[in-house]
Symmetry: D2
Subunit: 347 residues, 4 copies
């Protein structure tokens, strides 16, 4: 069997990263990426050797690329016609419109967490429900926050058999490359209470009871989750056992903050830059070891989420799930992560 042919619809913050991660795998390839016009990101696509298509099928728009010296191979329909699956990384609110196009073209499709669960009726995160997504026609990779919560909560749930969770999300207000959003000096509570973030975990793991509150704060680099999880009685766990559990969980990094002087998200991102993935990304969820504490049946912990990148490897696994080529989520995760890390190993 040949490689899976992957289209990336939208080559922005998420799209460029998914394309890079797909490119690092040996069982799939990027057959094209779309841009709305001949603007800045085209440079990057060309440099990487990704075939460039226009988000629209409009002939004028397609020809516009040539004026700026970029070869545009056609519209979205042309791209879909040579693809097995499309990863939708377009900005929000285009879901319904795009869904129709994907269905017409007969390709499989993956949406991102900016779309609602109802659009596809199915959601995905590697550790929670890979199997449920096997061979499905389309699905949605959940948001960075939901992915982060799944990473640490699913193994806990699997061990305990039940879990009741409250999470306060302290969210970055804007991405690092976005200079238009504030606030500069304020804390902004999300006044929809409870917020939608936590319950979204239930789209991939309905057995976990969870609610959340959210505030936005003046930082650009990571979200932090302050989590309280009520375990069932006779859970048999200790703080130390839970830490061990997460240490052996894929895509979770557990480190001692005080010993390693990783006091804040600034030092976590600096650690990520040392790892050397492109854009200084951190695909893993970072848990402060000395911030984990089990008091009776109630577990307290903090985790940090790199909002731009933690969902990237999930998209790769998700492609394998929909295409039905790897039933075991752990095998897919290993393959994805090893390929990505080898890809960047030179640095």
């Amino acid at each position: 069997m040949g490689k899976i042919k992957v289209a990336i619809n939208g080559f922005g913050t998420i799209g460029k990263r998914v394309a890079d991660a797909v490119d690092a795998q040996d069982d799939m390839e990027v057959v094209g990426v779309t841009k709305t016009g001949p603007n800045f990101g085209c440079e990057l696509a060309i440099k990487k050797g990704f075939p460039l298509y226009c988000t629209f099928d409009n002939k004028d728009r397609i020809e516009k690329f040539a004026e700026f010296g970029y070869e545009c191979l056609g519209g979205l329909t042309d791209l879909l016609s040579i693809s097995d699956i499309v990863v939708d990384c377009s900005p929000g609110k285009l879901g319904e419109e795009n869904l129709e196009k994907y269905q017409s073209a007969g390709v499989k499709y993956i949406f991102q967490g900016g779309e609602k669960h109802d659009l596809t009726g199915l959601s995905y995160t590697s550790s929670a429900n890979h199997k449920m997504n096997l061979n499905a026609q389309g699905t949605r990779v959940v948001s960075c926050n939901t992915t982060g919560l799944s990473r640490t909560l699913v193994p806990l749930y699997e061990y305990c058999g039940s879990l009741k969770v409250e999470c306060t999300m302290i969210r970055r207000a804007a991405d690092p490359g976005d200079s238009s959003k504030g606030p500069i000096n304020a804390i902004k509570p999300v006044l929809k209470v409870p917020s939608h973030h936590g319950p979204d975990v239930m789209t991939v793991k309905p057995e976990i009871e969870i609610n959340s509150l959210a505030v936005a704060v003046p930082t650009t680099i990571m979200h932090v989750h302050s989590i309280i999880a009520d375990l069932p009685r006779d859970h048999g766990l200790t703080t130390e056992k839970i830490i061990q559990m997460w240490r052996s969980t894929p895509r979770v990094i557990v480190m001692h903050g005080s010993d390693n002087r990783i006091k804040t998200t600034a030092e976590v991102m600096e650690l990520a830059r040392d790892i050397g993935r492109k854009w200084g990304d951190l695909h893993e969820i970072f848990v402060w070891e000395d911030g984990v504490k089990l008091v009776g049946d109630r577990l307290y912990y903090f985790q940090a989420i790199h909002q731009e990148s933690d969902v990237i490897p999930e998209n790769v696994d998700c492609i394998r799930a929909l295409m039905g080529i790897e039933e075991d989520w752990k095998k897919s995760v290993s393959k994805t992560d090893e390929s990505i890390n080898k890809y960047y190993s030179i640095s």
Copy 2:
């Protein structure tokens, strides 16, 4: 009976505000404030007409003030000798040393929340335990965070008879006039889990079960509390009833964020500046009406705390408690607040 003679030991962020608030009352007066030397704050004391003393009894240090044109009337001991009660607003870690001085001088004393409960064995917040502090020799006004929690939780507890609370504190990293502390672009979890903040409520209201987690974020103007409170079954409350309860609670402001465009702590502090108290202070705890939600027995809400000033009126009430001149906390609170507001009424 004459006015209560109040000494303010330490005329900094808290001291200058307590002096102002005492000065606004008709049953007490500022007989002196202390400074460590002839530095900037002296100007303010002179302008306000507060007699100036030196924090130390050292003759050289006392004489130093004259060199800079400030009249210094003596050392701390001199001040204590003419005082009924001292409000200790010195920087942290001097508690034990100062306690001895106050006891030697035979004056009553009030410490601030920077000191531990153990120093005095007694703590104070107006709504929680005014009566317990009546005629005591000394006590501690709890911190801004603990005061804020007491304001909204105590009435809830009194209504329900039991309460189990979890609070995530999103704390300002530095005060507005402090330019040396960071972080500029990061979130910093407090890795002592649970943190000491929440449980401090139990020093004034031991019946409330409470734990807390805390993070510091890059803002200077307010703390925000994200709170989950479990009410007992058959509590008979509704979201609306709880909002009404807080509306009639002293020193709590409940406002609709969306309707009034009070989206963040920035707008809350702007509201405070309009009120017109000195330094733009907000003595009240701000609760976003549309952020309150009772789901079954679990109550969710957000509140904002002006860390520089919410404890100021509590210090005035506390003086009345220790001096035994007002048994009813609500009467003291009314008197304190009306006096302060009249004091600033011109603007």
Copy 3:
């Protein structure tokens, strides 16, 4: 002669402050302030006792106020009919439209620096051109930045007879009560080079040659100007003489940063809060004494501008200029400032 009857059209950030400052004077009074509708600022107007009018003459809009419990006395036209002069504090871009209304009503008018000089053909700042504005029908009080530059440059020019200036403006990105603007973590150059800020000084003092560059930075509390001024040869000045000149200049504060630990704009604003004007305002321009240095004929210095308030007293002086009741700008400035300071003297 009775008091000058002043209308304030627009009761927002600037309007509420001008109203307060006018209210503090004995030769003028606020006969009314306008709001677009029964929203938050009405509370403040009522509390202060300022008659409330609607920005529009529309009957429905006027009646709307009553629904929310506010007494609205009429529309803008009604207000203008009982006024001698109107201070236009409406948001930008309404200048032309409003100008017509003021001219129809036959009242004198003062616009703010958000409007262009061309609108009125005349601009104002107390120290630069009070006399030129005497008895004029209308004028424009220049922006906070231009006002700040005039305060320190005009006396220097008057002494030297010529001056060539370059200024880099490091501007706050958003006001403290505005949480929607960024950037959170970036520096934003104003790419129109040179910027319009510096040359605006020439609308009040055409003899000063000046250019400027501007950047916006993630802070909310003050602008800082980094200034280079080339004096003519044989100027006869020294660093010390220049400092003395500014010490005796109204509305300029010169303080030693290192000695007084006023390291940044954070400490400058804290100093302002101690002064005790409402909203913690600082009407004066702050110059760091140890940041002033004359090297040959080139003068280097830094100054800080409280963008929300430095123009407030200028508006009061400007009213006197247009009404022709005080020819001497220094006398007006003294009267304005003493009245304001007495008004807040209780604190």
Copy 4:
């Protein structure tokens, strides 16, 4: 001839980057890096395959590394004994002490801009004075700011024959991985006026007259320079010619801010992340094309400096200069940059 054997003394922010850049070249190799103890950076050195040494010659300290599982090959003296040249990337204030060690060991040495020019009596930047540094025993690569100024000013000087410059430096307050420094919400002027930054350019190009003023602002990602350069009369330049000059200058990027939506340093750093160098570094100085303007003989422009990395390629060129293996600075620059870019080409 074999490869130049390079020691890196200090494997922190600068050291790790220099090591990476040296490793990318074919005419030099990293023979060892030093750490003070078995702390976090060791991991990175091991992963990269750089031999690890201890900053000290102390036997206990050297053995300590093994306890944590790191192989430490000896002390600094051991490392120097196998090196041709050492790049000193230790924290400031150790210069004098280290200089003695390097001289005793008979190796050539390169200090960083944190040390003063007097330490070595010679300074370096590729475009300014490569030739002067040929075969020297030791030198100092100037700071990130001085390097940035040299990049754009030296070609301008070479064309014009004289240049008088004033620069206001708007500096980041802390590096992205440093969460302890503030200010959070303030602007901090450097009260030493003029500041030392600009004149440092004269250590590499004494013919350029330059002064500077500096302020620190609450951002972590880049410095911005606001520059005024007075050209001699009859310079024959235009805004467009100057832009063309910089376009053909190595390590300068000129881009149109408005067209490319690169409004602030946030977008500049995002562009750098897309380029794909490790840590998201930007070795080039970024000039906003639409912020360049020649008015008469006075040139105005803005440039942005990535403080963590612009000096990295200069260190590589500097090694070649001291070792006398490449006389032509442009050839060295080409070789350095091509090697680095090829090194990261996969991504």
